[in-house]
């Protein structure tokens, strides 16, 4: 298929998978924020979410496919781009490219490491800090698990660092996916540049608020 080999086509696939990941991030944030309603909030939410196992698995496979495509093309495009630019300037001054735009592959791979860790911890329960149990209503006690783990400052800091990487990735990723889809014109180009940074910053702060609030002792068991 032409789209899979074309330079522009593969970017469109990166853009679409990136958008799917962003939608997931938004839904995940809304879901996670039920933690501010205490055990009854997040434990009820988690139970609802997992009440239909086939749907859960369909969704997981879909996200896995999206991220696999995103990573595969992210890596190949980056390798091709490095090869196309011998990078041999003795002096090179960038007028527009940013730290975020130049390090998409690294912030992306760090986010990937985080996703691996996050799944190992809260989905597979494979890290030593995780406490698994049931709450008084016989639901899996997600609240206790999260509050206990985030009570460890090192774990909370790792999450905050990962969210900083996500911020960097999206501060370029949001304006970039709009441009790749062609949803852009002379006026929106600078506006989306700023808007992308603002939205990524809001996302980062919102996600960070959970470990921050727990570390500060405002959300307790």
């Amino acid at each position: 298929m032409r789209i899979l080999s074309s330079s522009v086509g593969r970017k469109i696939l990166m853009s679409i998978t990136g958008q799917l990941l962003i939608i997931f991030i938004l839904i995940h944030l809304i879901g996670n924020s039920t933690i501010f309603f205490g055990p009854n909030g997040i434990n009820a939410y988690a139970e609802h979410l997992h009440s239909l196992p086939p749907l859960v698995w369909a969704f997981r496979l879909f996200m896995l496919a999206a991220i696999a495509v995103h990573i595969a093309y992210g890596v190949t495009l980056t390798l091709e781009n490095k090869a196309a630019n011998p990078g041999a300037y003795a002096v090179k001054r960038n007028l527009k490219a940013s730290f975020a735009s130049e390090n998409m592959i690294w912030t992306g791979l760090l986010v990937l490491c985080f996703i691996g860790y996050h799944l190992l911890q809260f989905t597979i329960h494979g890290t030593p800090d995780v406490v698994v149990g049931l709450d008084s209503a016989n639901r899996p006690d997600v609240f206790r698990m999260v509050v206990t783990s985030f009570g460890n400052a090192l774990i909370s800091l790792a999450y905050m660092f990962a969210m900083l990487m996500l911020f960097l990735h999206l501060s370029h990723g949001i304006p970039s996916f709009l441009q790749t889809m062609g949803w852009n014109n002379e006026k929106t180009i600078p506006a989306f540049g700023t808007g992308g940074k603002v939205i990524s910053a809001i996302l980062m702060l919102a996600y960070i608020s959970i470990p921050a609030v727990i570390l500060a002792g405002l959300l307790k068991l």
Binding site: N85, R93, K96, E186
Partner: protein
């Protein structure tokens, strides 16, 4: 004023190159950058040395031949200015100036500051045209073009094919150049018939010629001496999506 130049010298495509230092003395602020180099070359010739080879032609900012990366920016970083239109009043006495060729996989160095930009022609040959019957000259107003479309096409047509966008791009991509050509023809009625083939053929030719992929750094737009806007890259992306369903 007196300047210290560090110029990339390379005797041939395969030869190793290196930066060499030259002193440019008594430079007039009214000289253009190329005139300053002409004078350096005259001294080199008098000393029996090989003059610095660089591309140039019109020296009035329209042909796109001049191509030097000056202090890390293609064309030297003055907004909408080619090297030939850059003047020495932009510099200060005692400045050190680094002069290098365009650097990209698709632009092999020929000699010193001269690179081979045929790769851009390969993109053009792949679709940068509209097919028409030859014969008697058609009436100029036979096909009406709305003013807005004509303006848009003219903005894209400002591209002089210099390749600064490639030289500036961290990915050595020619997307700004290619998009300017695609958008120019896509905006006009004459360009419609071949629009879908054109965008596919030109982007494939870009890839085959060794240019990288666009990752939206917008470094090209900042370096372009004609102010070609990256909105044309968005237009190319839209044209490509339309072509997918053709």
């Amino acid at each position: 004023m007196n300047l210290t130049l560090h110029v990339w010298r390379q005797s041939g495509p395969k030869a190793p190159g290196k930066l060499e230092q030259y002193e440019a003395k008594n430079v007039s602020p009214d000289q253009s950058f190329l005139e300053m180099l002409d004078e350096v070359n005259e001294h080199l010739i008098k000393e029996g040395k090989d003059p610095i080879a660089f591309d140039h032609d019109c020296r009035e900012g329209i042909c796109g031949m001049c191509s030097q990366v000056i202090n890390g920016v293609p064309h030297g970083g003055q907004e909408r200015t080619t090297v030939c239109q850059l003047h020495m009043r932009r510099f200060n006495d005692g400045d050190t100036i680094y002069i290098e060729p365009w650097r990209a996989l698709a632009f092999p160095i020929q000699k010193d500051l001269i690179v081979d930009r045929n790769a851009l022609e390969k993109i053009m040959q792949a679709g940068g045209y509209t097919s028409c019957h030859t014969g008697g000259v058609a009436d100029g107003n036979a096909i009406l073009v709305p003013k807005q479309d004509a303006d848009y096409a003219m903005d894209a047509a400002e591209c002089i094919g210099c390749g600064a966008c490639v030289a500036a791009c961290p990915n050595g991509s020619a997307m700004l150049y290619t998009s300017a050509k695609v958008a120019q023809l896509a905006a006009l009625p004459q360009g419609q018939a071949e629009a879908a083939e054109r965008v596919c053929a030109m982007t494939e030719a870009m890839q085959e010629a060794g240019f990288g992929n666009c990752s939206n750094h917008y470094e090209c737009m900042a370096a372009c001496p004609k102010g070609i806007n990256v909105k044309f890259i968005a237009k190319l992306n839209r044209e490509y999506q339309k072509a997918l369903f053709k």
